[in-house]
Point group: C2
Chain length 122, copies 2
């Protein structure tokens, strides 16, 4: 397993799901998962997907600039992303950074244990 | 132990050491530590501090905009920082994001297991 390839594949899957089928993100979180969204702390798949689905924009497109990854030392993988978020009808894209801590599932896949998102207001 | 207070204290210590006494950062890393600096992967306290000390600017000042933290689920703590980096003699500050995975030491302190740094070129 090439960690760089896994993290790039995860990032592509995550943001294409976010942009095309946001409720589908529920599969990537579990009850222990944590999201900090612009400083707001949310725990558990259900609450996290409720938050993501209630964001005040319906259509958006993420463009990824960089993806970095490291093993977290505990069987997990840290993925650090920077990019831009284009909201429908808005002229300027917003810069963002986001980090994920992916943990393995028994099905040889990953779920998101930690997720921290920040806009950078560039 | 309040994780938010610990992470804020760590962040203040880290960047004030970086700005005033960069070689002092060596104490915060161990042989297992990993740094990804603008995509370049470096491992081990010695190589990491050599990299940080060889950056092509001598004087700089970090200003912190946001600090988010979450337990990593393994006794560690994830700290996610956004801010600006002012280089001496430069007119404009650079935006950056950085994440740390802190792991506890037997001395009830923390070391940096994972460190990923990216400039956002705002």
């Amino acid at each position: 397993m090439d960690p760089d390839a896994v993290s790039k594949a995860f990032v592509e899957h995550y943001y294409s799901t976010f942009d095309a089928n946001r409720p589908g993100l529920a599969n990537l979180y579990q009850d222990s998962s944590m999201l900090t969204f612009e400083g707001q702390k949310i725990q558990g798949s259900q609450a996290i997907t409720a938050k993501l689905n209630s964001l005040p924009f319906q259509q958006c497109q993420h463009h990824i600039s960089t993806v970095d990854c490291q093993p977290s030392g505990t069987g997990g993988m840290l993925v650090f992303v920077s990019g831009t978020l284009q909201l429908a009808g808005e002229q300027h894209a917003l810069k963002f950074s986001q980090m994920f801590h992916l943990m393995p599932t028994p099905q040889q896949s990953f779920y998101v244990q930690n997720d921290i998102f920040r806009l950078n207001y560039a």
